[in-house]
Point group: C2
Chain length 174, copies 2
């Protein structure tokens, strides 16, 4: 292994609704390699903490797996949108709750083997209840649960990586 | 919101090296919607625990972000491959370590908004050191670190979601 690989070029294979698929040509050790690259951008996952210690989750129907997933509220940071603005907007859209304060617990690449998506975990406190207004085609229900209850569902209910990471990160930072 | 959405059909937009991008047509509430679907399949992320409590990480150069990411060893479960077989194989390939025992801590969808990828977190104990043999085009270096040291790098080094989830899940299960 000698030195850092170099990106030679990207070839667009297809554009979806929100993602684009590229073939990325890379040079490493004098050889060229082809890598998949899914371009999605930035996203946020919110850990909304109620006064009594419960967390606001959503049980969401996901087309990608044709089934329900118990998740934290989350969504994409739109172009020219601020991270905390996006967190605030997604929280209201999916759960109806408005946040009194927001703080970033960490940012992580979601699937660096083939995707550029970077997700920020945002803690939300001082919640005030309101009416959810999901986007068209979003099918979800709000669920209130203590973090320990959520962890107890491991192996029993369909869960996702951003939410387990978000809940554990929240628990580890107090 | 009435009843469960229905998948009408999938249209293949493009095939990459390891992922395929589809347009998935879904019916919900009598309307049709288009969703992105990246098909990747199953993967494993390994938490390799040394006798002295340190974890074996890899610092890997990732084409998708043209930079280095500090990750747990991980990889795809190949067709017809068993989950623990894949964990054992990826651990040897990326770090050289052979595992005496492996146990699944949990399985999670990685990005259910657009991907079918499901990742299993596998704890590896009883490690015996050997020679790494990365696949062609994989650029990585083994790093040994206590879980608390890894968490201390939050905000300082580029990290990823499967590894923060894996480390925190390992810490929470003792």
């Amino acid at each position: 292994m000698s030195g850092e690989p170099k990106i030679l070029r990207d070839v667009l294979l297809a554009s979806g609704r929100r993602v684009k698929l590229y073939r990325r040509i890379v040079e490493a050790d004098g050889k060229t390699f082809e890598k998949d690259l899914v371009v999605f951008g930035s996203s946020v996952v919110i850990v909304p903490v109620l006064g009594d210690g419960r967390i606001v989750f959503v049980r969401q129907w996901r087309a990608s797996i044709a089934g329900w997933v118990l998740e934290l509220p989350a969504g994409r940071v739109e172009p020219r949108e601020d991270l905390l603005e996006a967190a605030s907007r997604e929280l209201v859209e999916e759960t109806g709750f408005r946040a009194g304060s927001l703080s970033v617990l960490g940012s992580f690449y979601v699937a660096p083997g083939y995707s550029d998506e970077v997700i920020s975990v945002v803690r939300a406190d001082g919640l005030v209840e309101g009416q959810p207004r999901p986007e068209e085609g979003e099918v979800l229900r709000t669920v209130f649960m203590r973090p320990e209850e959520y962890l107890g569902l491991l192996g029993k209910e369909t869960l996702d990586l951003k939410s387990i990471a978000g809940v554990l990160l929240y628990m580890s930072t107090g």
